[in-house]
């Protein structure tokens, strides 16, 4: 199993970098060229969500992206350190000027990921959450002597 790990400060300008790196590693891992656009979009959505969660929670820790090359599959895991609370448990005014809009964008991001990726796992807990997305890869071509 080969892994590339990327950590970046929770800033919007770094999400594009994460997309580019993820697409490059996915291509190298054998993910179908036709699916690379989806990989790029899905990892961008996951990173955007993580950046938003860190910024809204005032977390200075970086967002973590794992690009995992396995046999016959390629996975991307985007991890955040934002603690999850029960709905309605957020302090008034603590989540920016328009919490409803943020919530809508968050849900839209997850909707896009769910629509794009068949194999997706979303977890969240007191110490943060993660989105793990997996795509099949082409079997390596073996050239016989």
């Amino acid at each position: 199993m080969a892994t590339v790990e990327l950590r970046f400060s929770a800033l919007p300008e770094h999400v594009r970098t994460a997309r580019l790196v993820a697409a490059a590693v996915a291509r190298r891992s054998g993910v179908d060229e036709a699916v690379l656009d989806e990989v790029r979009l899905a990892v961008g959505e996951a990173c955007t969500r993580a950046v938003g969660l860190h910024q809204n929670s005032g977390i200075t820790a970086p967002v973590k992206v794992l690009l995992i090359e396995e046999e016959k599959q390629f996975s991307i895991e985007v991890g955040d350190e934002a603690p999850r609370h029960a709905p309605g448990d957020r302090a008034p005014g603590a989540a920016g000027e328009d919490p409803d809009a943020e919530m809508e964008e968050d849900e839209m991001g997850l909707a896009v990921i769910s629509g794009l990726v068949d194999d997706v796992e979303v977890t969240a807990g007191e110490h943060g959450g993660s989105i793990r997305m997996t795509w099949p890869t082409a079997s390596p071509v073996v050239v016989l002597p």
């Binding site: 300008e13 961008g44 950046v51 809508e104 964008e105 909707a111 896009v112």
Partner: protein
């Protein structure tokens, strides 16, 4: 690639030509542009997305916000897009039912329904 924006007025329609990538970093610029147009009295917008290389949910959110603003003034927001990879995002989120999507600026400018 950054975001490029330009506007042109055709009759009572304002065409907003967008190029580059619309994501969490660049989407605020598009939001500012749409808000400014509506504040200046442009309520019939045509957003030409033929030059857009990448669009994510943040960009979708900005377009939905723009639609809400123009509708508050009985206006319209039409999109021009022929790129399958961009159209796919609108389909996944069912926003094809919300936005009129045209194949050319001319068609969008002429549309009245």
């Amino acid at each position: 690639m950054d975001l490029s924006l330009s506007t042109e007025t055709v009759g009572d329609r304002t065409i907003v030509r967008v190029g580059g990538e619309i994501d969490v970093y660049t989407a605020p610029k598009l939001r500012e542009q749409l808000v400014e147009l509506v504040n200046d009295g442009s309520f019939h917008l045509v957003v030409d997305m033929e030059g857009v290389d990448f669009l994510d949910s943040t960009g979708l959110g900005v377009l939905v916000g723009g639609l809400k603003r123009v509708r508050a003034h009985e206006g319209s927001l039409r999109l021009v897009c022929n790129q399958e990879r961009i159209l796919k995002i609108f389909r996944i989120t069912c926003l094809t039912k919300v936005f009129p999507i045209h194949t050319s600026v001319e068609e969008a400018v002429a549309a009245t329904d």
